[in-house]
């Protein structure tokens, strides 16, 4: 190809124009303090579901009332894997809001907090944080997140009325759980013993993820060995394999609802609350649906830990609350305002907002907030496990690695199209891919 001088000049101009275009696309979002009088405006990013939106609005209203010279603008984005990618994109292109609401634990670690967030270890409210929570929003000894909302537990939600009617007691071993389920099935064939809701695929993971406290009790080093690829801490080996076995077993034994393949989480919570089903492996945070749709039935539902095959290991798995973070692009007076916003969320006034608007699913992660006396009954079940020292955070808070295909693999295992052993093998492969992507040593 030969260029005439005119053409060469044009190509040069075009490439400069192109470069300029590319640059303008990335600049101008520095977010550094632009002083418009004494009033500071900060932005706050939360998820676009109705519960998070309502909580964000209420929190902002209360905050602006206390600090009239700060105004907070709320932005929303979808949750789930799509939201994960949006978070990463916004942080790496420096277009993130000043304050953002996101998961703690492994998802938080994947955001590269050291460069993308502001260290807030020096704030006064940090000393009130629960130790477990502090760990899951920290890198090294630096704290980056402030809790918003309560922790929740992953266990078996059960209908207390049905248990009372049939004279069943809380199972402490997996065999007792299966025996209870069979009794429920034979007592009234119209009542589903165990609900599964693969219409929302994430719900398929509970019997595996919610079993982690049992694994941890049996082998406290399991999470560490799993993270650094040491020993036989794999899902194909016991004790971790039992979660896959349980997922396959309840379907093979015909103990689940026959529309398990299409039922959604909300439909399942409704079936549980109305007594059409007796038990549901689920997170207590899903109780928000019952609080909204069947408020009268809230106290009919309790929770117990997913039973281990061995009673001495049975313990409850806890999920830490999500947190508020400040992006590292926030500077000067916006940074001050953002820090005030985080402190406010963990002050008595902020706790009052959380009590009112957030779905209470378990204890708070900071001693600054206390559960109200009106908290639903199942929160006392959760508290009891914590008081008895029979509870531990889920694996995603102890290890940065969680394979992205777990829910899909477990749907296949739970519908019987893949065996438990094959599913566990596939998941180990998935874990390896994630570990390599994260650049963890030992893989």
């Amino acid at each position: 190809m030969k260029f005439t001088p005119l053409r060469r000049a044009l190509v040069a101009t075009a490439s400069i124009a192109a470069a300029a275009l590319a640059l303008t696309g990335c600049s101008g979002f520095g977010g550094s303090g632009s002083n418009s009088g004494s009033k500071v405006t900060i932005t706050f990013l939360t998820q676009n579901d109705s519960a998070d939106r309502a909580q964000g609005k209420a929190l902002i209203a209360a905050f602006e009332k206390k600090y009239p010279d700060i105004s907070v603008k709320m932005d929303t984005q979808p949750a789930g894997t799509q939201g994960d990618n949006l978070m990463k994109t916004k942080l790496s292109t420096k277009t993130m809001d000043n304050v953002f609401h996101y998961n703690s634990g492994s998802l938080f670690q994947a955001l590269n907090p050291k460069t993308s967030m502001v260290d807030i270890s020096g704030e006064s409210w940090v000393k009130d944080l629960d130790k477990n929570f502090k760990d899951v929003v920290s890198v090294g000894d630096k704290v980056y997140g402030a809790p918003l909302g309560t922790s929740s537990a992953g266990g078996i939600l059960y209908n207390k009325k049905i248990y009372k009617q049939l004279g069943l007691s809380i199972p402490t071993t997996w065999d007792e759980f299966i025996a209870n389920s069979k009794k429920i099935a034979s007592a009234d064939p119209s009542v589903t013993p165990i609900l599964q809701s693969f219409g929302d695929t994430w719900t398929s993971q509970l019997l595996v993820l919610g079993d982690f406290a049992n694994i941890n009790k049996q082998d406290p080093d399991w999470a560490d060995n799993y993270t650094y690829n040491k020993g036989d801490a794999k899902y194909v080996n016991q004790p971790a394999f039992e979660g896959f076995q349980h997922t396959a077993e309840i379907t093979a034994d015909g103990l689940v609802n026959k529309d398990y393949a299409s039922m959604t989480n909300a439909q399942a919570m409704d079936a549980l609350a109305s007594g059409k089903a007796a038990q549901y492996p689920m997170l207590t945070s899903s109780m928000a649906t019952v609080q909204q749709d069947n408020p009268d039935a809230v106290n009919d539902i309790g929770v117990f830990a997913i039973p281990s095959p061995n009673a001495q290991y049975t313990s409850l798995t806890l999920w830490e609350p999500n947190a508020l973070y400040i992006s590292s692009t926030t500077k000067d007076d916006k940074l001050d305002a953002s820090k005030k916003f985080l402190a406010f969320a963990n002050s008595p006034a902020g706790c009052a907002v959380q009590d009112k608007t957030g779905a209470v699913a378990g204890p708070y992660a900071t001693s600054a907030c206390k559960l109200p006396s009106s908290a639903p009954g199942f929160t006392q079940d959760v508290q009891k496990y914590i008081d008895d020292d029979a509870a531990s955070p889920a694996l995603e808070f102890k290890s940065p690695i969680k394979g992205p295909n777990l829910e899909t693999i477990l749907v296949a295992v739970g519908s019987g199209s893949t065996s438990a052993a094959t599913g566990a093998k596939q998941y180990d492969q998935d874990v390896k891919a994630q570990a390599q992507q994260l650049g963890i040593k030992g893989w």
């Binding site: 990618n85 393949a261 899909t408 296949a412 199209s417 893949t418 891919a433």
Partner: protein, 311 residues
Amino acid sequence: MTSAAVHIEGKPTAKTPQAPKKDRRRGIRSPYPSWFYIPAGALYLIFFAVPTFSSFYFALTRWTLFSQQFIGFGNFVQFFQTPALTQGFINTFIYGFVTSAAKVILGLALALLLTNPIFGRGYLRAVVFFPVLVSTVGVGLTFKALLDPFHGVVNQVLGFFHLPQPGWYTDPHLALLTVAGVDIWKGVGIATLIFMAGIVAIPSDYFEAARVDGAGSFKVFRSITLPLVRPAMATVIILSLIGGLRSFDLIWAMTNGGPGFSSDVIASVIYKQYQAGFFGLSTAGNVILFLVVTAIMVPVQWFLNRKEADL
């Protein structure tokens, strides 16, 4: 600029005498000044050329958006170890060929019907074409509701007549075919339209001559319509096969590749890897998908065009 132009700028040779040179140059020169191309060229460069070529590089890295590490062909090795990748490949081919074949057959049948003077032809043409205008995701969600195994209209009607009520998209053996069926419903309109244009373009003299020679309807179809709509058929096959092989939106809206991995196609496998943050790995998957689609489409196109030239 083509090599011919370069050649002309050099010394004239015996093969390119002086006189035609100017003409050819004028022929190559476009009527627009060069700066006219800058906006389009810049956009093409930024949004197509740069991403395409950088994707070949990023396919060789472990990339987190924050940082990247060159790992050679590691991503390609890993991509081929993905669980259910084989299933994904098989599903892609099943989906591509089933939808393409059905669109050709149904499209031709509908086009024959709708080019004949039948009652309400204009209305029926609109009805057949209508699904093409609706958003694919909208169609997916609508059919998901209609085909719900327990609360969906279709199964309730089947239940009323005491017929079996299959789990359309919850039965692992059926899910892929269900989605393919919806894809056919949605895409057959465009195939019909292309076939109708092909049929209408056949001169009516041929039909009259055939009738005079005593050919029946079937003979007319086989010996006149079918050979002469071949260019239209080639277009339909190529469009629907490309569409089927890289289809994603409808599958994602209806099943997310599930239940399990039973309706995963390559595109949804790649999308899930992208969602999981495996940016290097999913880019490698896209490079592979690009090669596979090219490897299938180039021979198909060559074959169909050769047939066309034979006519």
